[in-house]
Amino acid sequence: MEEYPEELRTPPVALVSLVGCAEHHALISSYLNAERPPINTLALPDLSKIVLLLSKPIKSDPLSGDNGGILKKDWLLKHRTRVPAVAAAFFNSDHVSGDPAQWLQVCSDIENLKNVIRPKNIKLIVAVVQSSANDEISEDRMTLMRKRAEIDTKYLVVFNASDDLQLKQSLDRLGSTFAELANVYYKEEGLKVKTRVEKKSFNSHELNVRCCFKVAVYAEFRRDWVEALRFYDDAYHILREMAGTTKKLPLIQCLVQIKTVAEQLHFKIINSVIAWWKGGRSNYMVSASILFHTGGFSKTITGNSNIALGTADLALSEWEFQPAYYYQFAAHYLKEKRTSLDLSLTMSETADEIDRNAESVVPSIYVGQFARLLELGDALIMQSLTDEEYTRYAFSERKRFQDSSEITAFLKKAYETFTNLKAQRMACFCGFHMAKEYFVAGDLSNAKQLLDGAVLLYRQEGWVTLLWEVLGYLRECSRKCGTVKEFVECSLELAALPVSSDSGIQSFRRNECGPAGPASLAQREIIHKEIFELVSGETRLASVEVAFHEPMIKPGVSTLITVSLLSQLPLTVDIDELEIQFNQSECNFIITNSERPSAAISSGQKGCRVENAPLALNTNRWLYLTYAIKPEQSGKLECTYVIAKMRPHFTICCGAESPASMEDLPLWKFEDRVETFPTRDPALAFSGQKAAQVEEPEPQVDLILGAAGPALVGECFTFPVTVASKDHAIFSGELKINLLDVKGGGLFSPREAELFSTDSHHVELLGVTGPEGEDESLMGPDKIKKIQQSFGLVSVPTLKDGESWSCKLQIKWHRPKPAMLFVSLGYFPDSNESTSQRIHLHKSLQIEGKTAVVFSHQFMLPFHQDPLLLSRIKSLPGSDDLASLPLNETSTLVISAKNCSEVPLLLQSMSIEVDGGIERPCTLEHSAMDILCPAHLVPGEEFKKVFTVIPEVESSSLDLGSVSLRWRRDSEMEVLSTSAATQEWVLTKHKLPDVKVELPPLVLNREVPPYAVLGDPLMYLIKIRNQTQLLQEVKFSLGDAQGFVLSGCHSYTVFVLPKSEHTLGYKLVPLASGPQQLPQVTVISARYSAAFQPSIAASTVFVLPSKPQFKTTDIRDNKLEPFAAE
């Protein structure tokens, strides 16, 4: 398209002329140019030039304005570049004030200039150039000069370039004078024309328009945008009335001229509006110039500008500020123009003729007019054209012009801008138009790319009609490219679009539709048939749903699977064969169409299951096919593809979908139709999955965990694990052993264990031993054997059917607590590990860890001896209840070990050992000999051992050491289940509590014979030993006893000397036989206020009725000898 010339595109700038003194012109020009508003200068070195410049146009106008032109092409240019508003004559001051000859010259110059510019009403400025500050011009000369020039005083300017300040002032003055006079000039010129316009004294519309245009341009020179707009608008309206009324040109050319002028006026209108908005400070907006690249959209623009002017509140929508909007428009109008042109071209003559006729036609001097240029000798004559000639010329011009690329360029810009604005639909629309251009131009790859983008959007948003159109183009693209697959895809999609007569979509007229034709049911059917013929039978299965009826399947057990097919094609479709493929290929099966037995196609896979079913797909109705399959392998069983075969050459492979995850079909979901479920069972439609889990095969192996009996703390508990194969051979078997804390639930981690005990875990896996007779070395280096404290991994040797293997786990409990033992066996039933599946078998057992032996102890004092232990008397509540032992006295310690387990135990030895081997400050010894042969201890039985203790130092806490007991299970009872490993003696230690050792101040000894004889007197001695350095006062009393007669005082107070003993002696005569209570004695120490009374049990004596007769046996000669006790 034609570019508008510079003078139209930029706002007019006032033009002034500088004459004479050329050395200052550059300076003044640049100053004026930088003014706001700028002023252009026409610098002429001497006077003769301006005469030449201004006299030139006089001879123009050969055809005169009456020949029908509206605007002359060069009028605006002339006023912008050749006709100055102001002429400034510069004279040197020495010329002005010089000799008479020079003065005369000045005068004549002014006169000449005046003569030239006066007729054109050009304003005059006279400037006197002072090159130095000393130059002084006489007042008379100045006045004379002003009079000569017939100008106001203020238009006679002194230009002083001697120094910067003066120069600045001179320039300022000159600038303002120029601006003022230029304004005056344009105003006067405008007014002249304006009065004509207002008088309406025109005989033709052309002149009227021209005058309005001129007024507007003059207003623009003055930056009076409002007036400029008004007159441009007037001109435009007059122009509209002109159409058809003027007879000066042939009709077509007349219209063309009007159109061209109208465009130009519009361009000016819009630019003025914008300049007005922007305060006229910048050049016209870019968008505006883009706007007018193309012609023809006068109406809308007028509408818009009217809105803008009328309401003045910028009622434009935000999109109208987007350049993309205008790019799109430009493209649109170019396209419309091309459409009509193409139409005209097809109706006109052949191309050659057009070309020949179009020669030598040039634009005439009027805007929008064309003429033939004829050479007659040297002269050039413009000959007007007939309409026919013009049309040919116009066509030939059009043919040279590449509309398509221009349109594409505009659309591309719009497309990119809209994309950046995230206006995807508008971008898509532009993209689609671009694609159409590419399509027409044969650039199919570009077209396809854009169409694909559009298809995505329309498909997503369900704009069926638009999708139809785009798909139609895509289909044509693929047809032209020869890509059969895409063609088929597009055709199928077209055929499956939800377009039907009752879908509420209007049918479009044929010529509006894309290559796919009108969107209608009939057209869908046509496409469907077409594609059928092409591929000799096929269908697009719009949906394939596969649902397993059960989510978990056992291997080898058949399960049901439903395959549902839905076709959205308008016609019923017959499938020859349907192949259902799974990720486990042995499950694949084929369904052949039972109604078309001839169509059976030999499948490539031999041995595949073949089923028969009617395979006719009705439109939008699900076809259900339910079959049983029997998976063999465990793991995931997933239906991957459903392949439909139609005739030998056509195959459609559909990815299977789960009904549960199925989304609505993007396009049909908006349609008002009855929803159907893809499976018969509605529940399955919501939950059905295309994949199912096949369980592992049942392990045909027994894993036997042996002893269930409780383990005993401390012992190395042996736990037999037996792997017995029943039906499966075992390859690469692996036993995993885990020990779990029952209460905590977690594994025994070493760190956790350290928190509790420093030595090790509560329960610890010590090791695994193979079956008896199997050498460790036989297990081989490749066998896995890994033992940790709570985890073990043992490899199981290859076992044949029926064989068994066992091993023993050695577990040690450090504390009594239950533990859970998990044993899992993993194996392959097959020697080929890659094909067979690993089978896992788990067993668990809770084992109680129990304490085997419970210890107890008891301290005893010697018979009938009672030390006064002060700490026992004065025991404070809360103080440690340690047992107190008298210093240097013999005490008895009885230690008993009770078997609290459920198995008999065998005890080897019991001893008291000092921890750390420190010398003990007391004597500890057995009273009896050690157990030589192990003692059997049945459950619940107690074993006791007596030790004597003689403390040798006084101590508040004396460490007695700990009891060490060596024991083991009584293996004779359980020799089968527990093997030699248990033969080791288990050492259990029990720490004895500390004791307190103190010196008793008083010790009371009672001496009574072991028995008495009725009637025989006996001595009952009570000895009170004072072990202190003090005199001790002791009160005592003796009560009566029924069985005795006694002599001696009943109560008395004695004083026992330090470190001495006092003996109280009574003679008793027993009066009755049997166990008799001795007289009750009470001793009270006054110093310690402690009373002592022996217990009843300790003060009983047996009275024999008569003197007994004993026999002693000599071991050596087995001879019983009578022994008489004394």
């Binding site: 109406k299 809308t300 818009n304 935000e318 109208e320 909007y325 206006a423 704009w463 007229r509 509006e512």
Partner: protein, 143 residues
């Protein structure tokens, strides 16, 4: 003159689109309606910029295009009503009135118990009613 009216669902899918033109530009009108959704989006996403108040359903002039002006209306269920007209000089009140009646017709149509929300509106009654509203557009104010 109204050349096209449309109801667009909240997923920007057409629920009802009807053109009232003799010229062969129905498909073009579909494009115009579709493109106008961009402007609706823009308005909705930048309510401040477009001066849209919170409860205002009428979106006003969406954009002028070629020979048409496109007006929009957005319900609070994100259903859009689009109007395409060839009139250059349209009174705001007329358009508002039109949309109000159109909205009422839509509400009645979707209140039909046999209508599934989100599906295309195929009701003939609705089509008839919309056609009447379109015919009477601008008449009330002109009279």
């Amino acid at each position: 003159m109204i050349v096209c009216v449309a109801v667009v669902g909240h997923q920007n899918n057409p629920l009802y689109i009807q053109s009232f033109t003799e010229a062969d530009d129905a498909l073009k009108l579909h494009h115009i309606v579709h493109c106008s959704l961009d402007v609706v989006d823009e308005r909705v996403n930048n309510p401040k910029k477009s001066g849209l108040t919170l409860n205002e359903t009428f979106l006003g002039l969406l954009y002028p295009t070629e020979n048409y002006k496109v007006y929009g209306y957005l319900t609070n269920t994100k259903v859009k009503f689009i109007l395409v007209t060839t009139d250059l000089d349209v009174r705001d009140a007329d358009v508002r009135n039109f949309f109000r009646r159109f909205h009422a017709a839509y509400v009645d149509a979707v209140s039909n118990p046999f209508h599934v929300p989100g599906k295309r509106i195929t009701s003939k009654t609705f089509a008839e009613r919309v056609s009447n509203i379109v015919k009477s557009f601008g008449l009330s104010s002109a009279g």
